[in-house]
């Protein structure tokens, strides 16, 4: 069995889950810090801030999903399939859209959501709009996820 192919595929899965996870954790933390500040003044807005804080969390899940798709594809749970270095490289590259876009878009989304915390601090009735601004950012994570999945589908093992 060619170990290099498997190693490359593993690297792809690790990057997808790892980078997107890092992005989400930073994004969620940015919102959390701002939200905690607001809660000291107005504890009643906890539920609203929770929704905003959850928004940048999805990139991590998308990354994890792609990682699992790779794991299933190469049979890492159960018996490993034979993966040539070329196929391994293709899998690694397929993981990059969600890994990179996940990383940066989660941070950016966190910043947008933190700004929305400022919005609901003064105008709690505008929560709907406050959710929409950060949700715009997520579009690109969704597109990257689709790209990663399509690319992965394209790798024939």
């Amino acid at each position: 069995m060619d170990i290099l192919g498997i190693v490359l595929a593993f690297a792809g899965a690790a990057l997808a889950a790892g980078l997107a996870g890092i992005g989400s954790s930073i994004g969620v933390s940015i919102v959390g810090q701002v939200a905690a500040g607001l809660i000291t003044e107005e504890p009643g807005k906890f539920g609203q801030t929770l929704i905003l804080q959850a928004l940048p969390g999805t990139q991590g899940i998308y990354g994890l999903l792609v990682a699992f798709l790779v794991i299933f594809k190469i049979g890492a749970i159960g018996t490993l399939k034979a993966v040539t270095p070329g196929q391994g490289m293709a899998i690694l590259l397929a993981c990059l859209p969600i890994a990179l876009v996940g990383l940066f878009s989660a941070i950016a989304q966190g910043q947008a959501a933190a700004a929305s915390i400022g919005l609901i601090a003064r105008r709690p009735e505008e929560l709907g709009k406050g959710i929409i601004y950060p949700a715009f950012v997520e579009t690109y994570a969704v597109l990257a996820l689709i790209a990663s999945i399509l690319l992965l589908q394209g790798v024939a093992l």
Partner: protein, 656 residues
Amino acid sequence: MAVAEMLKVRLMIHKSAMNEVISTLQSSGLMEVERLAGDNIESETHEHLDMLPLPDNINILTRLVSEMNYIVNFLSPYAVHRESLLDRLSPSRVPFSQEQFKAVARDYRHYEHTYDELFAIEKRMTEIRNESARLEHDIEELEPWRELGIPLGDVASTGRAMLLMVSVNEKRLPDLIAELERHREPFHIERISVFAGRVYFLFIAISADKEALAIIHKHDPVLWSFSPGTPPAFVKLNQLREELNHLKREMSEMEKQAVAIAADIDTYKAACDYLRLELERYTVLEKVAGTESVTVIDGWVRSKDADELNRRVHVVTPLAEVTFRNPLPGEDVPVSLVNSRLARPFEVITRLYSLPSFRELDPTSSLAIFFFIFFGMALGDAGYGTVMALLSLAGLRFLRLSDSGRNFLQLLLICAISTIIYGAYSKAWFGDLIFPDYDFVGGFITIMIVSLALGAVHLLYAIMVELYDNVRHGDRAAAILDQGSWLLFIAGTLLFSLSRVLSLPTAAAVAGNYLFVFGALASIYSMGRMQKNIPARLAVGLGTFYMSVTGFFGDLLSYLRLLALGLATGGIAVVVNQIARLFRDIPYVGLLLTVLVMVAGHIMNMTINIFGAFIHSTRLQFVEFFGKFYEGGGREFRPFSAETKYIEIIDKEGAG
């Protein structure tokens, strides 16, 4: 289906009946009272209308209401039935009968005493908290010196000997000692203790030895001194602890008092509500004007309630004249939505964005069907749908809910049904728990096409709503030129591209080509038609056309999120099951662990994805759908009513 028709209403009543009429208005909850002033009054009548003098107890009432609010807020943490998290999310209200409500409210003046009492308790509690914090700080500072048996106030340098209380970082002590030893003057270090990484010691040297002092200062020390007369640390520590315990006892005494008072919290809640209703009545009086014998009340009423309002007023007094008229153009009309029972829960979504303005279409029923489908696809697991349905049914059955809370749970229930249908179709029950052949990536391409197709339908529907809206307002030209040509172009594009993929009849393909070209030209013409000269028309038309085309496909791609969210739910659910099954072979506890991992994993996955499905289905409405035609910005119709916050009147009076 729509924004309710409204009528402007004017009540003219004899002053003797004013209070009764206002009470009736409040209990019937049909009319929104508007301030009678300025532009609302024809100038000739205005001269006869003086604003009524305010009743002098409105200030007292305002104060009482804020005091009662304070009492309720202060007491709620001490009430015996602590509010659960669920209660906080949707506070349930205490049932009261009309009779009890009035009885409770009658002696509201006694509650001022309670307010003073609670105010004193809270003040003392704050003092105790500050005092305790200070004591704890002192204790923390003294603790390291506990083993030093001499009175702390006596530690001082003499004429010949230097005596210092010092603490330095424990790691730096060896360096300090080494340096002092190199300095070759007599010194002594008496170690007292080590606390949190710092070593505390007595330093003794010759008074004149300035160099030794300099060496100590190099090692980032803290030099301690206590005021003369301070007893030994252990004695002082005992004193402080004693004081602290005393304060703690006092604190729990205060809490006991608060708990005792909180036993009557329902009474205070009722009184608070009663006073608030009174205050609202007085606020309405502010908006009313009158002559010496006639009072005039202006406001809005739903057209369908007009007769009922007229009847109720005349039940109270025959000395009344009620007139209605249609809203004038440009008038700020409050908005009330009227939807079928099935669509009503979706008003939650419309409100989240903004109410339609009075002259706009209510988008609720249009978005309802799409939201229903989108949510089901985005969550897409029948197991999760079932759990959601059961939870929302339980909430509807067992919680006392406000109208908006009820609407929200109904919305969740409807969305759960959509999820069950879609999940059952794709065999997703908690991932592959029930059907082992469930393949969450299998239908990938199909779901992608379905997502895009749904997106196209949604976007086309938006254009048609826009078209309808233009026609409704009599702007036929805009309807035909803006939306009509654009629809032709899109239909042409679809036919054109479908004919490449599928084998359509030749006629359709040819029609597609012509539509495509004609629609494009028509769109370019209509988009540039506002410009003066031909080059400008061409440039603006082409530019706008290009932006619209790319915008349309950008919007279309956005619907791929339905695919992505569904995949994420399914994928993580399958993985939860796989991981859980790894535990199955552990002897004895294997099955238990498997079940635990599954339950925990699925709860997590379900929560996150319900959230995601909701947010993204909403987003597709707000951005892709509303963006085409909807502005919002309406003002909610808020009838003057007897709505209570904390309590629920269980035997409402029928006729007021």
